[in-house]
Subunit: 424 residues, 2 copies
Amino acid sequence: MTAYSCMSTAELEREYTQVLEKYNHCKELGLNLNMARGKPAKAQLDLVSDILNVLQTPDDCFDGDIDSRNYGELAGLPSARAYWADVLDCKASQIFVGGAASLNMMCDIVSRAFTHGLLHSERPWCREEKVKFLCPSPGYDRHFQIGQFYGAELITIPMLSTGPDMDMIEEYVKDPQVKMIWVVPKYSNPDGIIFSDETVKRFANLKPAAPDFAIIWDNAYCIHEFEGEYVPFPDIISLCREAGRPDMVFEFASTSKITFPGSGISCLASSVENIAYMTKLMGIQMISYNKINQLRHVRYLKDKANTLELMKRHAAILAPKFEMVTSILDREIKALEFANWVKPKGGYFISFNTMPGTAKRTLALCKEAGLTMTTAGATFPYGIDPNDSNIRIAPSLPPLNELEAAMNIFCTCLKLSVLEKLLA
Amino acid sequence: MTAYSCMSTAELEREYTQVLEKYNHCKELGLNLNMARGKPAKAQLDLVSDILNVLQTPDDCFDGDIDSRNYGELAGLPSARAYWADVLDCKASQIFVGGAASLNMMCDIVSRAFTHGLLHSERPWCREEKVKFLCPSPGYDRHFQIGQFYGAELITIPMLSTGPDMDMIEEYVKDPQVKMIWVVPKYSNPDGIIFSDETVKRFANLKPAAPDFAIIWDNAYCIHEFEGEYVPFPDIISLCREAGRPDMVFEFASTSKITFPGSGISCLASSVENIAYMTKLMGIQMISYNKINQLRHVRYLKDKANTLELMKRHAAILAPKFEMVTSILDREIKALEFANWVKPKGGYFISFNTMPGTAKRTLALCKEAGLTMTTAGATFPYGIDPNDSNIRIAPSLPPLNELEAAMNIFCTCLKLSVLEKLLA
């Protein structure tokens, strides 16, 4: 194969004709494939379905003296708080266990920050002239959407191989209107980057002008290796405390990709003072979260060591999918030299950068051929990728045979859109 | 027994000495009893614990083609929407099925109203000069707290035997700053009143000045009879549509007192347009609610008819408790003529009105003797009962023997505080 940039116009035209023919063939298959979201596959759900049976009798539902079937324990069952403290390497008193969605708690925090303020706010954020959120990008569209929903100005921060550009962040936080930053510190969505120790340390040592500046530390993939051994991560809560800003960070995790997406349990980890403040605010909207589900998870997952064993069984299902995606990309796209990507060792995504100006067109072609991908631009604030280049590949949901078909369509559409542009 | 008002000072003093002696005896028992909240008893939780076992295998988790174990179906599983439509006598398209707490959805609606506005809002409520909520009282403290939390001015509306004073409400809604009213239309908390058909009709026919005026129709006890047959209730959503304001009402219900408090499922019922609008807003904070728990409930509860059968078994546990409370009150308090109460036929509370100016003192005495009741004043906006008279009795949690002990303490404290006042 020759790089497209080295081809003559005649060669490009020949290639175009061949790729177009292949594309038309794809369309005729009338497939309906989906790689839009980081949804676990049915095999993964089956893997953990024994959790359905761990609580069977009234006696099973007691966590010590506490009947998980009745109201109470707003901050979570003691055993569930201890479980998350084990996973995140912090203290149970620093944990608030929520419902099925950590995203909901993130949104609650932003919502309350705007209407009431955080612990160190001088006023509710809605009374500020302007509020700015820092958004390392490519990033998670749902993070950006929450900021946009509440009218924050979203500022794009580039991602480096060590995590977000910390020089830029340290500069931006001198602006008191900068109130929040959203990050996925381990296997970042979509790049799959693990923040370096240096990056984490610089986060903890940020000296923002805003007294209520908050780091949303979305540790969604904290134990989600699919290749190699578990990679430990530093306890950001201790680091922030040691650096003198103990209330600056709100860490989140959930079992969405450990047990059942949307029916798991989530947690917020932060300083004891923040947990007390958030518990007070949560008490307005809730009597208590679903503690039966909390107990079901504690009984099934037991502790971090046992959960890591389970994650290896998830990995056995996920790894071949990531392997297939990258090997097809290596075979079909690499030598054409118009794109780059990195194969991650954990998380749920591959971040793919195609030739600038062709991502949208590629995904439109995919759609027409029956393949739904994450919308182009979704990985940037306001849904606008300035280079129209980044595409998030989510290989987890389809079984291997469908994934192969989907990747063949994807590669064909990539080539076609690049050729269209080169020949335009 | 003689009414206290007919006693001479000497008689009152003699009575006081006797009651004080009894009170001191109560204190010596060192009891620890709780009638503060409408918590179901352990026997009720045991009654429904078979729900833990209705989903056991992966195959069990499918609702038609939908795998309840994965992300999706933000507005709820089709079968769960159909279940609630059956219970509330509306259409499945008018139902949004949420998590365990209907209170959380109420709070979400108020929160979004303040930051973004409702469907017909001219601007977010936080941009209004003032926002007023109408609060029929005595009412539910958590309703009032949400309004207070968001800075709404809370206006007390008296409760009549037919429901809230509709003359007053019709007058108040002419004020465009009046944006919301909170009601429990069946077995109201705490009065246990079923709104009359006339009252419901007048609600549906309200012509508020605010285009985005909303009725929070918290149908928490819609099928919660403990005495006599199930009492049907009108479909407020149809009535509002027929009256020309289809988007004015948000109806709520949950299984908190059908299956497990805090681990059940909740629903919002409203116009299709409101459901679409709220689903869009909810989509910012959630991917989807716990659908496994939704399916578990549908499989266990099946339909309205079957759920009504289950409610009869709850009633068999609850009825003797209400019977004990009212018979002790009849025996100990009635002839003294300083208090009044009505025995309801459903719901979770008895609303007790003691001699004005003695409710707080009564409950302080209770507390000292080891009995925790709902805080005095809690049933009024801002936690302030202007007459210091209303006390919410919640007899559901204690077993019968504890309830008897609790009621004996309560009656002693009632008498003591009244005698203190009469002799002051």
